[in-house]
């Protein structure tokens, strides 16, 4: 169908939509709620307080890494990669929201109050995911330190993203058979997302490593910057160990092989070397999972939380 001026009047996106879609949207169809039909009660025999802490661990990993990715908005080397990084950040933010909401529900089940205790129930910051994200102090965040490290250059970002996604994918794969049906559903959604994040980072690391002398040097330096924080990813916290024994959590101790397999494929193709660097110790053996963070974390949280704290009643 053409009008007189020869310009086709039909919309190219019309063929992409499905019948019965919301007509307000030109395209984009068939959205699904990952938790639809999932039983949200805390499974019998699971310690609700442990489950709260575990959901905070996984949720904080995603939230903090998402924030680092968001810092690349308007600053990526190419427009296309800017959108790609924003997509990845949004994927992780979505996972964080589901996990922090799960933590709130588990906390409610643990103390039967609604999460904040009866004493200060009348006013103050909102509950649930926002309260966790915006009104916790640094020592209450349970994310691994890898996620919070100061933003480096694009080489550092890609190295960090490959390791983070490789590790998280292994964790989420295990969690798809968790005894907590909510965690299993969140993981099933996340596996597809994080598979792409890992693929994106692997493609770029190979391009950088096998590119120019300068890009190779930056990629190798990026690997070196994050490498001391890799062993922490596979060191289980006692809560992780307890919940793994109960069939609810993934024990990261057994997952190092999956990341090593990925690196054994990607690094040689990228002509990069595995760094020979010792782990960065925590404080008296305590690291991110215990709420002990690096200097970068305070600055990150100041940015992340400033708006919500300036106006706690704000809604969005």
């Amino acid at each position: 169908m053409s009008s007189d001026n020869g310009v086709p009047s039909d919309n190219a996106y019309e063929a992409l939509s499905e019948g019965g879609d919301d007509v307000r949207w030109a395209y984009g169809t068939g959205f699904a709620d990952p938790l639809e039909g999932v039983d949200t009660t805390v499974p019998a025999g699971t310690d609700a307080a442990d489950l709260t802490a575990y959901c905070l661990m996984l949720g904080d990993d995603a939230l903090i890494m998402s924030h680092r990715l968001q810092q690349w908005c308007a600053d990526a080397p190419e427009l296309e990669d800017e959108v790609a990084l924003a997509n990845i950040g949004l994927d992780l933010l979505g996972q964080a929201r589901l996990l922090l909401s799960r933590a709130a529900a588990a906390e409610e089940a643990a103390n039967g109050t609604g999460g904040r205790g009866p004493a200060d129930d009348s006013d103050g910051p909102p509950r649930g995911e926002d309260r966790y994200a915006f009104f916790r102090a640094e020592h209450e965040f349970r994310n691994v330190r890898l996620a919070e490290l100061e933003r480096g250059d694009f080489g550092e970002l890609i190295a960090r993203l490959l390791v983070f996604a490789g590790w998280r994918l292994a964790v989420l794969r295990q969690l798809t058979s968790s005894r907590d049906p909510v965690l299993a559903a969140i993981a099933a959604k996340g596996v597809k997302e994080v598979s792409y994040h890992r693929d994106y980072a692997a493609q770029w690391l190979i391009r950088l490593g096998d590119g120019t002398a300068f890009s190779r040097e930056r990629a190798q330096a990026g690997l070196a910057a994050i490498w001391p924080y890799v062993p922490e990813l596979f060191t289980p916290h006692e809560i992780e160990r307890r919940l793994a024994a109960a069939g609810v959590a993934a024990d990261p101790a057994g997952l190092r092989g999956e990341l090593d397999d990925v690196l054994a494929q990607v690094l040689p193709a990228a002509t990069l070397e595995v760094p020979d660097l010792p782990p960065r110790a925590g404080v008296a053996g305590r690291t991110g999972r215990d709420g002990v963070h690096t200097e970068a974390m305070g600055h990150l949280l100041a940015e992340l939380q400033s708006v919500a704290r300036a106006d706690p009643e704000a809604t969005w």
Binding site: A15, Y27, T29, N87, R207
Partner: protein, 105 residues
């Protein structure tokens, strides 16, 4: 970018080539042109297309084609190309009775 415009290599080193993106929707039978993007090679173009053009759950299949590989008709040729078919109504199959059991017409 400096003086030696003829070498062909130095001219555009800072920008990646342009690719045209075609996406087939869940119900669509054919790939539909949705836009273009920059990428260093076809693998990157495919991934960039995924990131730029399927963010809202549009597609199930992506084609990318180098824009340089497309030969297009020009607006100057509009009349000789398209005007002659404007009055040839007999080219439409509207003079036939289509049997009820013939689908997809």
């Amino acid at each position: 970018m400096s003086g030696d415009g003829g070498s062909g290599e130095g001219a555009d080193r800072r920008s990646w080539p342009l690719w045209e993106v075609f996406i087939r929707g869940k119900r669509g039978l054919n790939h539909v042109h949705v836009g273009s993007l920059h990428a260093a090679d076809s693998e990157m173009a495919l991934r960039n297309a995924r990131d730029l053009y399927t963010r809202r759950n549009e597609g199930v299949s992506i084609w990318v084609v180098p824009s340089a590989a497309i030969t297009a008709s020009s607006p100057d040729e509009k009349d000789p190309f398209f005007a002659p078919s404007g009055d040839k109504v007999y080219r439409h199959p509207t003079f036939y009775d289509i049997p009820d059991n013939v689908p997809h017409m």
